[in-house]
């Protein structure tokens, strides 16, 4: 049975069991989304957005699509995946099931809890009605699929005028057989509030998981949201991560994506600018080897005047790794005085590494400043030689130069412990010690 049929059966099973009926207002959204998925099926290479990205090998595997038991995980086994030495809120899921033991949620002042419990509580009905599935509608069948199966995920609501003192970590662990997971996150940040979030998907044994995640982020006036993703899963895991951001006047939202692992990673990141004088930042860094695959698709819709967007994606591809970058900037006729800058730089190290880049501008307003730059190249031989001359071994010199290349992106992280963690991960990947 192929995955689509399995999902269809699974959907109706859940439907019959009543598991999807947790709330009546969400139910029609689900049914509609499922119909849309059923009609479209999984994307194929014939679709422009999936031109370079073959999904076939991934969806042809056998997955467990419904899982309702909590697998036992020892804290010591997973400790290393957390940012430990600072106090944080944590929402942890194991095989899609909430782990109260590993988590630290709150309802005092702010809401950091489960989407499923928020759906059940009448208190949150207003928020959910107003925000749930309002921007995740790029008509991508995988988004529909996630919406149809929405069960578990993080729910974060920061009310007006709140600066959240601790960062929030959202971690999805998976183990025991090939899981097909569909987490769904909803982040609502009200006026003048500020929050830092860290998201991670991690497999802790050698199963081949497939995660299809959707996150919706709403930033109200003057809100500041920092959203960081670490993608360093095992080399068997596949991830499709779709993030949608809506911004209102004067807000600043940054989404930083760091891809170091996984067999297959596809990031869809969409920004909808629905206010004036706001700023969107999209940063990404990939460091891949072996046969790893990363695909970054970003879209920024400049729908209002006087806004800015800054996009910087860098990638280093070794061995047989493949990178795809597709960055779209769409400037609506109304969006005069837009400043949109996009940059994509890649270094190919491996003999068989490949990069496909498509930086795309679609501009309908005249009084704008838009630019994009895209380069593909190698390390500067002269710089390498210079360093070797001064007694730095080739391997270290190589790593230092690569680190310097990625540093532009790493500098964008506003969360010191995370920056440290990323630096360590990079050093490990490059096989050297970076002592700073």
């Amino acid at each position: 049975m192929n995955l689509k049929d399995k999902l269809t059966t699974g959907f109706f099973e859940l439907e019959n069991k009543g598991e999807l009926h947790i709330d009546d207002s969400i139910h029609p959204i689900r049914t509609k989304a499922f119909e849309a998925f059923e009609n479209k099926g999984f994307p194929t290479k014939k679709e422009e957005e999936w031109k370079y990205t073959p999904l076939k090998a991934i969806i042809n595997k056998d997955y467990e699509i419904t899982n309702s038991y909590e697998a036992a995980v020892e804290l010591n086994d997973v400790k290393k995946y957390f940012i430990q030495d600072v106090d944080t809120y944590k929402i942890v899921f194991i095989n899609g099931v909430y782990s109260s033991f590993l988590s630290e949620t709150t309802h005092s002042g702010i809401d950091v809890c489960l989407l499923s419990s928020a759906i059940k509580k009448p208190k949150y009905k207003l928020i959910l009605d107003h925000y749930f599935n309002k921007i995740a509608k790029n008509n991508e069948s995988l988004t529909h699929l996630n919406t149809a199966f929405t069960q578990q995920g993080a729910f974060i609501h920061i009310p007006k005028n709140t600066v959240v003192s601790k960062p929030i970590q959202i971690i999805y662990f998976s183990l025991n057989g090939n899981q097909f997971l569909q987490p769904r996150n909803l982040v609502v940040v009200d006026e003048n509030s500020h929050v830092q979030i860290l998201e991670r998907h991690q497999t802790i044994d050698d199963s081949s998981n497939f995660t299809n995640s959707v996150t919706e982020i709403f930033a109200a006036k003057r809100a500041i949201v920092d959203y960081n993703k670490i993608q360093n899963d095992t080399e068997k895991a596949s991830l499709i991560d779709q993030t949608f951001v809506q911004q209102k006047d004067n807000s600043i939202v940054s989404v930083n994506t760091f891809s170091f692992g996984g067999k297959f990673t596809r990031n869809n990141l969409e920004f909808y600018q629905e206010g004036e004088r706001l700023e969107s930042n999209l940063n990404g860094f990939s460091l891949l080897g072996n046969k790893q695959y990363v695909d970054n698709h970003t879209v920024v819709y400049h729908n209002q005047p006087n806004c800015e967007s800054h996009e910087l994606y860098k990638g280093i591809y070794a061995d047989k790794a493949t990178g795809v970058f597709n960055g779209k900037v769409i400037v609506h006729q109304k969006a005069q005085l837009t400043n949109a800058f996009q940059q994509n730089n890649s270094i190919l190290i491996g003999d068989k590494s490949t990069i496909y880049a498509k930086p795309q501008l679609e501009i309908f307003a005249d009084d704008v400043k838009c630019s994009h730059g895209c380069t593909i190249g190698q390390l500067d031989e002269t710089a390498l030689f210079y360093m070797q001359q001064r007694g730095i071994p080739k391997k270290e010199a190589h790593a230092l130069l690569l680190y310097a290349f990625g540093n532009d992106v790493i500098e964008k992280i506003k969360f010191p412990k995370l920056k440290e963690r990323i630096t360590k991960l990079m050093a490990k990947k490059l096989g050297v010690e970076l002592g700073f």
Binding site: Y52, I349, G350, I355, K358, F364, S371, Q378
Partner: protein, 482 residues
């Protein structure tokens, strides 16, 4: 095109009649509308083509029948009805005018702005010449020089007769019949076009241009150009004309194939100024062109284009850099105004080692027009040390137009170096103000700025063309900024 050249054409045709005995029929009829195998066989017969050519056309037609019209381009237009077109028509004798007074004022004004001489104006407008222009002798000397060098330059239909081996060897090798919808259609029905062969080691002493190919009147609807530069040769080829062309044909689907063998160099320049439709976007030419060149070892192909006309343009002159050390270049200015739509760009396919490509694309959109750059830079895994530099800049005038870029970059080799940059902006008010202050009116100021913006491309055009192209840009953008 003009009375004079047409007479000349007739004379030549008359002479040829004895050789082939089919041209007199040609003048007699226009085929009924529609396309089927019979029509194609008839076209082939008209042209007195050998059997292999007829088969070739039929094959293309069968391929075309099973193809669908592409709709991926960023353009919007009513799909032409391919059964409502007559695929063969004899050259129509133009109405002869007695003096320039009878010519459309608007057309004359444009000629004047372009700085076209009175005689030339008359020739273009089809006015009977009262002063003898020495174009026959120019053409004859021209032909003589070419013949001395062994250069073959003739209509493609003539080449099929005279040099079937060359045509057979190269036709459809660069743009195969299966390439795309319009290329297939062109392969099936083409009737006009040029054929050019530069022998080994010959540097063509002059710019070859369709203007001198006076034995063929006007541009055709389905033009097919085949240009072969043999080892170590050089040629510069000009296509089109800066003068406005009031063409009645709505659909143009041309195919151009360039072959640069080892160490050869081809420079191909185009100025396209077909009818863009009126201010409300009514009428205008649909221009769907497939242009592609193949570079063998150390060869170089350089495309330069100035696109100001046509209602819809769909054109991607490309280079296949097959040989080691080959070079591909693309310089383009596309200007769109009113309701024009242009989706143009290039493809650079790097297959050989140490291949280089440069792409400079400038787009200017005004009025309610849409201007897109769509390009592909592809580096295959064996293309060591490939180098590409692309730059596409767009200039927007007015808040109702659009500028888009769709660059595709695919790199499979880790020694390749690829750079791409694109910017979009409008003409700064301060720049215009600066010019105004110095007594330059706004229209002139815009022309000045646009010229500066497109200088990199204009400089690549042959001298006399560049001057005219510059004026053409001015005219195309006249009154676009209030």
């Amino acid at each position: 095109m003009s009375k004079y050249t047409e007479e000349d054409l007739k004379k030549e045709l008359e002479n040829q009649e004895y050789e082939y005995g089919f041209y007199s029929d040609l003048n007699a009829e226009t085929f009924p509308k529609g396309l089927n195998e019979e029509v194609i066989i008839a076209i082939s017969k008209k042209k007195n083509e050998p059997q292999w050519m007829t088969e070739w056309r039929l094959d293309a037609y069968r391929i075309w029948k099973n193809m669908e019209e592409p709709d991926w381009a960023n353009v919007n237009y009513p799909k032409p009805d391919f059964q409502a077109i007559s695929y063969y028509s004899a050259p129509k004798p133009k109405k002869q005018l007695d003096s320039l007074d009878e010519v459309d004022d608007e057309l004359l004004k444009m000629y004047e702005k372009l700085g076209i001489s009175i005689n030339e104006q008359k020739r273009l407008a089809g006015v009977a010449m009262d002063i003898v222009v020495d174009s026959v002798s120019v053409a004859t000397t021209f032909k003589k020089t070419l013949a001395e060098k062994g250069i073959l330059f003739m209509p493609i239909s003539e080449a099929i007769q005279k040099h079937p081996d060359l045509v057979k060897k190269y036709l459809g090798t660069i743009v195969p019949k299966t390439d795309n919808f319009y290329a297939a259609l062109n392969s099936a029905v083409f009737t006009d076009g040029s054929f050019c062969y530069i022998p080994k080691g010959v540097k063509c002493p002059m710019e070859l241009s369709t203007y001198f190919r006076i034995n063929e009147g006007g541009t055709g609807q389905f033009e097919r150009t085949l240009l072969i530069a043999d080892k170590g040769s050089y040629v510069s080829y000009l296509e089109g004309c800066t003068a406005p062309q009031r063409d009645e044909n709505q659909l143009h689907a041309a195919v151009v194939e360039l072959i640069a063998l080892d160490d050869a160099e081809i420079k191909y320049s185009t100025v396209q100024n077909w009818y863009p439709g009126d201010k409300n976007g009514k009428g205008g030419v649909f221009n769907f062109v497939t242009k592609r060149g193949l570079c063998e070892t150390n060869a170089k192909i350089s495309w330069t284009q100035v696109e100001t006309g046509s209602a819809v343009t769909w054109k991607y002159p490309s280079c296949i850099l097959k040989g080691d050390n080959s070079v591909g270049e693309f310089y383009s200015i596309a200007v769109t105004n009113n309701y024009q739509q242009a989706d143009t760009g290039t493809k650079m396919i790097h297959l050989g080692k140490n291949t280089k490509s440069t792409i400079i694309s400038k787009g200017v959109s005004a009025g309610k027009s849409q201007n897109s750059y769509r390009g592909l830079v592809q580096v295959h895994n064996k293309a060591e040390n490939a180098r590409n530099f692309s730059q596409c800049d767009s200039l927007l005038m007015g808040d109702k137009c659009g500028a888009h870029t769709f660059p595709y970059i695919e790199c499979k080799n880790n020694t390749a170096q690829i750079e791409h940059e694109a910017t979009t902006s409008k003409i700064g008010e301060d720049q215009i103000f600066y010019c105004n202050q110095r007594g330059i009116d706004t229209d002139k100021a815009i022309a000045l700025i646009v010229n500066g913006f497109s200088k990199e491309v204009l400089n690549k055009l042959p001298m006399e063309f560049a001057v005219e192209a510059r004026k053409l840009l001015e005219i195309s953008l006249e009154g676009s900024v209030g």
